[in-house]
Symmetry: C2
Subunit: 300 residues, 2 copies
């Protein structure tokens, strides 16, 4: 059975005439006759009574008529739905690492909802290796993570450089100093994130680069836990500057290091092969905008 055959069948049953049906279908009459005959043969039923002047659908024909109409309607409807871009490509899935998600996404998604109200963004918060896998398997449209990313199949676009800062309890001796050097940290206990976090690796690398051997007190899975422990004086830590929140004011002090400026690069990650939907394009444009804004702020 072919869709064209259904269209021919419909044309005949509506005109009651093979010749006019052929004209309407823009094919020669014998071609249409052949296709109808073929269809009848396949279905095992005569579809038309060929009476002298007109063709009348048989009972089987009238049953099949409804079917054919429905099928062609479905086809048309499907074509229309995909042709209508507005309803499509409006749902994307974005991955983000845990040290980024709670601090960057709320602002980003609010802006997104305002700018592209029809765009539905699903978030997948997970560690970088998982995000990379999901990206490669096509489960994510794009992901936000910290460098480094070495996979050749992943397209990396650096968005912004995020400063990391020392965080201590408000009543900690270091909280009073305006500038802190490595020497000041020698006897401090550090609270770091679990090893699965890319930020933990980042911080470890930073220490290594500066030949500093920290004393590790605790390892937590979440930044908020780290901050809570720091607040009660269990130790100090290094966190992204953007992790600072309003509620921290009375409990925590954020101090910059004098000797070195720890940072991490936040990048947009995409699959090289993956087709970028319109929605993904829009989200990316938003990300670039936010990145430019952050760059401008950093200048000031």
């Amino acid at each position: 059975m072919e869709l064209d055959q259904l269209r021919y069948f419909l044309a005949v049953s509506e005109t009651g005439n093979f010749t006019r049906a052929a004209e309407r279908s823009h094919i020669a009459q014998p071609s249409l006759s052949q296709q109808i005959i073929k269809l009848e043969k396949e279905l095992g039923h005569k579809l038309f009574h060929r009476l002298g002047r007109k063709a009348v659908v048989t009972e089987a024909g009238s049953v099949f008529l409804e079917r054919a109409r429905r099928i062609l309607f479905e086809v048309e409807d499907a074509t229309k739905e995909l042709g209508d871009n507005s309803s499509l490509e409006r749902r994307i899935t974005v991955g983000a690492i845990p040290t980024l998600a709670p601090y960057q996404l709320p602002r980003l998604l609010t802006l997104c909802r305002k700018r592209f109200p029809n765009l539905q963004v699903n978030i997948r918060e997970d560690f970088k290796p998982t995000l990379l896998t999901e990206l490669l398997e096509g489960e994510l449209d794009l992901a936000l993570a910290a460098l480094p990313v070495s996979d050749p199949r992943i397209q990396v676009e650096i968005l912004w450089r995020e400063p990391l800062t020392l965080v201590v309890a408000k009543d900690h001796p270091l909280a009073l100093k305006s500038r802190v050097s490595w020497a000041d940290l020698a006897n401090e206990t550090f609270i770091l994130l679990s090893s699965s976090s890319s930020l933990a690796a980042q911080v470890r690398r930073f220490f290594g680069d500066n030949h500093f051997e920290p004393r590790i007190g605790s390892r937590c899975a979440q930044v908020s836990t780290v901050k809570a422990l720091v607040a009660i004086g269990a130790g100090i830590s290094i966190v992204p500057r953007d992790a600072r929140s309003e509620e921290d004011q009375g409990l925590l002090a954020y101090i910059s290091l004098s000797d070195a400026k720890p940072t991490r690069d936040i990048a947009l990650l995409r699959h090289m092969q993956r087709y970028q939907s319109r929605g993904a394009e829009q989200f990316i444009s938003l990300l670039r905008e936010v990145a430019a804004q952050k760059a401008a702020e950093a200048q000031v």
Copy 2:
């Protein structure tokens, strides 16, 4: 868009693999690739992310997937419905002339319902010319009418010969006679059917053949009206013998003519070209059976 393309699309989305989808579809992999690409081009959307090891449907793809499933389901369903003969060709429309319908059809339909319980017979009671037209236009599967029928496009099969009898009121002088001749009818008033009835023409011809000039009193549209008028002594008439009913017993007397035996031939009428459905065939077999039965009764 072609149905095969939808099948290929489904195969790919279910296997996540062009090569295996091609195997499953019994075509070469490049052929399948081409068809998918063609489909994507026509729809204006990429349907799959071609990632390294597997193909994952895009958002447009997942929308189209449901559509494709539905379309193919409809196609399959339609094929199945037509393939299943039992539900089909179970409805026929049978025409019958008014002087036949009320006396023959009840018996016929009762038998039919008993013999072919799934056969639905629709009746169209009308005058012969109308039945012929409807037969030619394909609205009727077959028709029962009295001869003559001269149209070359109509296939005529004589079923039985129906005697016509004189009918008079029970208290009419003729009711006592066992045999009636033309002379006896000279002063009688006849109640005949309207001229549109073929029986009226039949009776008129019968009179003409016997050089008898009847006195016409009334013309009615229905046999039952004729009988009612005859019962109150308004005149006498000639009706089919089978028009006799139980309720007539006390009111009417049916008398045969001695000089001539008026009859009419009841025939099964079909369109020469029209395809005969299974249901029609069954009804025809029933008619032949009844005809044979009537012939046997006539012998006795």
